[in-house]
Symmetry: C2
Subunit: 281 residues, 2 copies
């Protein structure tokens, strides 16, 4: 299979490595705006050649859209405008409502499979691409009934072969609501925590020395890139604001309990929080 | 060396395992209030015998205080009241100001070494004790000048042998301020995040399915025990409230930026947050 990857960053680049590892792609072409990323992608052998979108679409069996979410909906429409009956288009974006809406009335909608493979790291760009990406994680497939059978077979077959569990979701709205809870709020919290510490703490050496108290795990995501996350927060604005409002509210309740030495309240809140084990264990 | 561990939970129990692994203790005795924990500690071979505090102090060379921080200051005084010239007392608590103050005027203060080995997990009790604990982490030694040379040699010698880096801090106040930033706030954030998700999210299955978006790492600490953390938050109340106030403020700034589509502000804030890499990498 000839694969064209549009956007050879952390996600697109990792997908290239994984496709190669599993012998799924004979040839991988890349479209990449950043000359620096293009160079790195070639050097690491993520793609065989960097091409224009038109050149790539002329030969690819599968076209993978892995650009930041603010560029994704319009790119999807442009690609569908040029797609042939034998070609499949998929995306890997972490926001789905706007994208699903953008392609919803397209006459070639059936060639497109909207997906979100739930994997990432706090690093970005092709230099951060990893061959062990995706395996063991969940891939969300959106609006399955809108995609052609053969296109679904291609995309779901790949996710199966690379070791992902698939789940179907019926709408982009539903996806984006869940993503706000399980991913976006964690990133905001981490960014805010990093800013808190950087703001207040002058003696950095001591922060470094004291690391080990749980700080690294909660603040790790604060290393994530603004290029990726600013568009995600803004594209998922209403869900994110809703969760953020609730999160600040929960922090204020805990603050009040600490202020008033409310031992019973704190114990009860933590016991309640402990039940998150059901979900993440 | 005969070692008495008072409080055979996650920390005391792990210390027992590590002391044994390194051949530092010939015999380890434990004082444990909870019959269930005492039973587990014996079953796992963490301690050779469960004894009363008096029995243990009659024979131990080293007395290790590993009880929750609300019980620690008074216990330290009681133990110093009975300590002999040949014995060393150390604690492993994560709050230091009140403890250091409690023992400050004690005629046998020099037999005591106040320490905080910066290690822990989100689990608690002797069942959670781990042989790979402490290694590679930092041990804070407080008020070194208040401890006798030979007592310091015992305690610092152990931390060196089990692979910890030592740093000295001159006061409990300084320690507690730093601990609020690098440990306590992370736990509060995690608890609040767990409560947020549990509060708002009804379809648990979807949270589970979507795991992988960064949620686990920020929420892991929410599995921590209230028995450990309620006293820590309350004993370090003023520092914790101060950091919490700043953290909520930072979240509110990010919220405002998202509300107003402030792309430049968000990018700038995230770039600033990214500089946390200097500290945690």
């Amino acid at each position: 299979m000839k694969v064209l990857i549009v956007g050879v960053g952390l996600i697109g680049g990792s997908f290239a490595l994984v496709l190669r590892k599993h012998g799924i792609a004979d040839e991988i072409l890349g479209v990449e705006q950043s000359p620096c990323h293009a160079e790195q992608a070639l050097q690491r052998g993520l793609v065989d050649r960097i091409v224009s979108l038109e050149e790539g679409m002329a030969v690819a069996d599968l076209i993978v859209l892995a650009v930041p979410v603010d560029a994704l909906p319009l790119l999807a429409v442009k690609v569908l405008n040029r797609v042939g009956d034998h070609q499949t288009v998929m995306d890997m974006g972490s926001i789905k409502e706007e994208l699903c809406d953008a392609v919803s009335q397209h006459p070639r909608r059936a060639r497109f499979v909207a997906t979100h493979p739930m994997w990432g790291t706090e690093y970005s760009g092709p230099a951060a691409a990893r061959e062990d990406a995706f395996a063991g994680r969940t891939a969300v497939i959106l609006e399955r009934e809108r995609s052609a059978e053969d296109a679904l077979e291609v995309v779901e077959g790949i996710y199966d072969r690379i070791g992902m569990q698939r789940i179907a979701m019926s709408s982009g709205e539903e996806h984006d609501l869940h993503a706000a809870y399980v991913s976006h709020i964690s990133h905001i919290t981490s960014f805010a925590l990093a800013l808190t510490v950087l703001e207040k703490e002058r003696e950095e050496q001591h922060i470094f020395d004291l690391a080990g108290g749980g700080f690294e795990s909660t603040v790790r995501l604060a290393k994530s890139s603004a290029t990726t996350w600013t568009p995600i927060f803004l594209k998922n604005k209403y869900n994110v604001l809703d969760v953020l409002r609730e999160h600040i509210h929960q922090l204020q309740i805990l603050r009040k309990m600490i202020e008033t030495d409310d031992v019973e309240g704190l114990n009860a809140a933590m016991h309640r929080a402990n039940s998150i084990q059901r979900i993440i264990d």
